[in-house]
């Protein structure tokens, strides 16, 4: 049955082609059904494969399709690898993806580019599935690039707005910078191991031991790629700007799936990373720093989608922290729960924006609790989940990461805890300002207010259920649970050298969990008192607040360092290298030929005697060559 895993890939690809080619011919219903149906089909096949994997004795399987590249000793087959890690991601991508497709069918109903939208979405799902299914780094990279492309296409979906196009370009270019690191790491891998297949690379790497400079180099370079794709410091500024795309796109790509590609890649390469502890420290530090920085910026943002974007960056930082302390399973767990509640948050935000006719500034919202009940309650569930309040899903996954961090280095735990508390703060700030208090919008928006249609609210409800229940597959044994997810993923992460997994260590974990939960609940109540009756401030912030509002001026810094000097460098090069040297060489060749031909023309003097003299001389030379040199 595993042999049919290519069906999972084929369906979205067909969906892309059908909705893309006939986007102007098919009715909107047909497009929506094709687009959603293919992803649903992939989800069902993934479920079948998943149930097969639950049976005891399931081994990681490789499915061979064809020989992709075969050069000398380097073989890169087009293979898929199906193991527990892949299946978890498959279910997340297709499941959450399907719900978002369903939501989009209604949300984008009035848009003229309906067919184009669904074809891009299906292409994205295809690329993401290819990424997680690949059995070697090259196939992974193909999917990696594909999701980057779809991200660009979908951010700039409304291409008549130039600032949206700029945002799309920014996302793509920053991704590209990361991809350069990834590629160099890939080349290093090829030169050192003569292979890119996971199995072979891991086997050879294990033979190298833990003090190998090559492994540190490769893992660092792959990390650069992950930093770009998963929006960590310093390549994170594209993600907030990517909110220019339609809200379901933000939900799917920039919350649930594409940005988790970096996590997947590092989790998949856990063997390499476990053998390079230096890089793991870098991963943890980058993740932690990003988590804190992004959370601090989210504290003072006024656009509902921007808050969620910075929240995503911050949560990704938590996942990196989990990877950096060796808790690969915990990081994947957080990927799963984050997909549920972040997608829910974005879709809920979309519902709010849709209800208000396009308004995104929370200072002009408020009091939406009565008018949008379903959105209100599902949004609350998501906020509780992300803040780590038990028994919601976020509590278990975040706690797994924090417990592992404490085990590694208590300082990491304290800073991480601070980040978690900031998360609770800004999320509930957002919640209370948006849904409580008095309505601060215009008269016209007030008339517009209505709850969203079922196609939009059903996914919200389903995701809310998952955000509530989803964590229960990972209840650690310190609380009496069986840690189903951890056990499920354990065979995948068993391959590397022994890293102490965050196994229930009795009382320490329990104490940590209680402390974290209590503090989070306290923060929620504090926020409630602060923002329940929110009045918009009119004075711009001063001091630290100004730095937060302006996102620590990072964008301005990048502009100064990179965006402005580069055109000047290009102009300088054009003037001093391109024109004189390169153009000069090419034009010079032409001029030389002309000069030569002018000189040679003088042979044609019209004098017959000269011609005959030339003939005789030529005959002499030919004779000489023929008889004496050959």
């Amino acid at each position: 049955m595993v042999q049919y895993v290519w069906l999972v890939l084929l369906l979205p690809l067909l969906g892309f082609l059908v909705t893309g080619i006939w986007r102007n011919r098919l009715s909107k219903t047909a497009i929506a059904m094709t687009g959603c149906g293919t992803v649903l089909g992939s989800f069902l096949v993934s479920c079948v494969l998943f149930f097969q994997a639950l049976a005891p004795g399931f081994r990681s399987t490789q499915v061979h399709l064809f020989n992709f590249i075969s050069v000398g000793t380097l073989q890169i087959p087009f293979d898929f690898q199906v193991d527990q890690l892949t299946l978890v991601f498959l279910l997340i991508i297709t499941g959450v993806g399907f719900l978002i497709h369903l939501y989009s069918a209604s949300y984008m109903r009035t848009d003229a580019g309906y067919g184009r939208y669904f074809s891009y979405l299906n292409l994205f799902v295809f690329s993401m599935l290819l990424l997680v299914l690949g059995a070697n780094y090259v196939i992974l990279f193909i999917g990696w690039e594909g999701v980057g492309l779809c991200s660009y296409l979908l951010i700039g979906f409304w291409y008549d707005r130039n600032d949206f196009n700029q945002a799309a370009k920014k996302a793509f270019i920053m991704n590209r910078i990361g991809d350069l690191g990834f590629l160099i790491g890939l080349f290093l891998m090829i030169s050192r191991f003569s292979s890119v297949s996971f199995g072979e690379v891991f086997a050879q790497a294990s033979a190298l031991g833990t003090h190998s400079g090559v492994l540190v180099a490769i893992t660092l370079l792959l990390l650069v790629g992950a930093v770009g794709k998963s929006a960590q410091i310093p390549l994170y500024t594209w993600l907030p700007d990517a909110m220019a795309g339609p809200t379901p796109v933000s939900a799917l790509i920039h919350a649930a799936t594409m940005v988790t590609a970096g996590i997947y890649m590092i989790a998949r390469s856990h063997v390499l990373y476990s053998l390079a502890p230096a890089t793991l420290n870098v991963v943890a530090l980058i993740g932690l720093a990003t988590a804190i920085l992004a959370a601090s910026i989210a504290l003072k943002q006024y656009d509902i989608k921007k808050v969620l974007a910075y929240s995503t960056v911050s949560q990704l930082g938590f996942m990196f922290l989990g990877l950096g302390v060796g808790a690969y399973g915990a990081a994947v767990f957080h990927v799963m729960t984050h997909a549920f509640f972040k997608a829910l948050l974005f879709l809920g935000a979309g519902s709010v924006i849709h209800a208000l006719g396009g308004e995104q500034d929370i200072r002009r919202m408020g009091g939406l609790r009565r008018k949008l009940p379903v959105t209100y309650w599902t949004f609350l569930v998501a906020c509780l989940a992300i803040s780590g309040i038990p028994p919601f899903s976020g509590f278990f996954s975040k706690d797994a990461i924090l417990a592992a961090a404490y085990r590694e280095q208590p300082l990491l735990y304290y800073v991480g805890l601070a980040g978690a508390l900031m998360t609770a703060f800004y999320m509930f700030r957002l919640f209370f300002i948006t849904f409580h208090g008095d309505f601060r919008g215009t008269e016209e928006s007030a008339r517009h207010l209505h709850e969203s249609p079922p196609a939009m609210t059903i996914p919200l409800v389903l995701l809310a259920l998952l955000s509530f229940l989803g964590g229960w597959v990972g209840i650690p044994s310190s609380l009496g649970g069986k840690d189903l997810l951890g056990n499920f993923l354990a065979p995948v992460f068993r391959g590397g050298p022994a890293i102490p997994m965050p196994v229930a260590g009795g009382n320490t974990d329990l104490v940590l969990m209680i402390v974290a939960a209590a503090l989070s609940i306290a923060v929620v109540f504090w926020t409630r008192s602060l923002y329940r009756q929110y009045k918009a401030e009119t004075t711009p912030g001063r001091g630290l607040v100004r730095w937060l509002e302006h996102k620590w001026y990072v964008d301005e810094l990048y502009d100064f360092l990179f965006t402005r000097p580069l055109p000047r460098l290009s102009n300088w090069l054009e003037r001093h290298v391109e024109s004189p040297v390169i153009d000069g060489a090419v034009n010079g060749m032409g001029r030389m030929v002309q000069w030569g031909s002018r000189k040679i023309r003088l042979i044609q003097s019209g004098q017959v005697g000269l011609y005959i003299f030339g003939m005789v001389a030529g005959a002499i030379i030919l004779f000489l060559i023929a008889f004496f040199l050959i």
Partner: protein, 164 residues
């Protein structure tokens, strides 16, 4: 040194001297006369090689027809030694040198060849009956085509020579 070699050397020297005379003489009429002498010398060589038919044809065609043509044209143009255009010394020198080099190079190349003696079979291939057989058996098509060639040459010469 039998009599064949003596005659060969006499004819050879005669041919070479007359050829040099063609090249160096100042008056064109003298050149024509020297050329006729050269042709007779070469005809003598043909006879020595027992190519009887060719010897006779050679004299009739070359000395009898072609040189007469040349003579007519020269006399028509009224050329004599004073009106003769001369090339500069340098050019003449260069011409002699290049011709000399050509001679030397090919001679040197041929020095490697073995001096072979002629075959001892019958030397009757120059007889007209034998030549006739070969001509009309194997070379009949070129023979007919040469008549076409002559026709075109005649037509061409007449056309070129017309006044208008």
């Amino acid at each position: 040194m039998n009599w064949q070699e003596i005659i060969f050397w006499i004819l050879a020297v005669l041919a070479l001297l007359c050829a040099i005379g063609v090249v160096t003489s100042r008056s064109p009429i003298n050149s024509v006369l020297f050329l006729i002498m050269t042709f007779f010398a070469i005809a003598g060589h043909y006879l020595l090689l027992n190519a009887q038919f060719l010897a006779v044809v050679h004299i009739i065609v070359y000395a009898g027809a072609i040189m007469v043509l040349f003579l007519f044209v020269i006399m028509m143009m009224n050329m004599n030694a004073d009106t003769e255009p001369q090339k500069s010394q340098l050019v003449r020198f260069a011409g002699v040198i290049s011709g000399g080099i050509l001679l030397v190079v090919v001679l040197a190349a041929l020095k490697k060849a073995d001096p072979a003696l002629m075959s001892e079979k019958s030397t009757d291939i120059g007889l007209i009956s034998n030549l006739g057989k070969v001509l009309f058996h194997e070379f009949i098509v070129p023979f007919e085509l040469s008549s076409v060639l002559f026709l075109s040459a005649m037509v061409g010469a007449v056309l070129i020579g017309k006044k208008n």
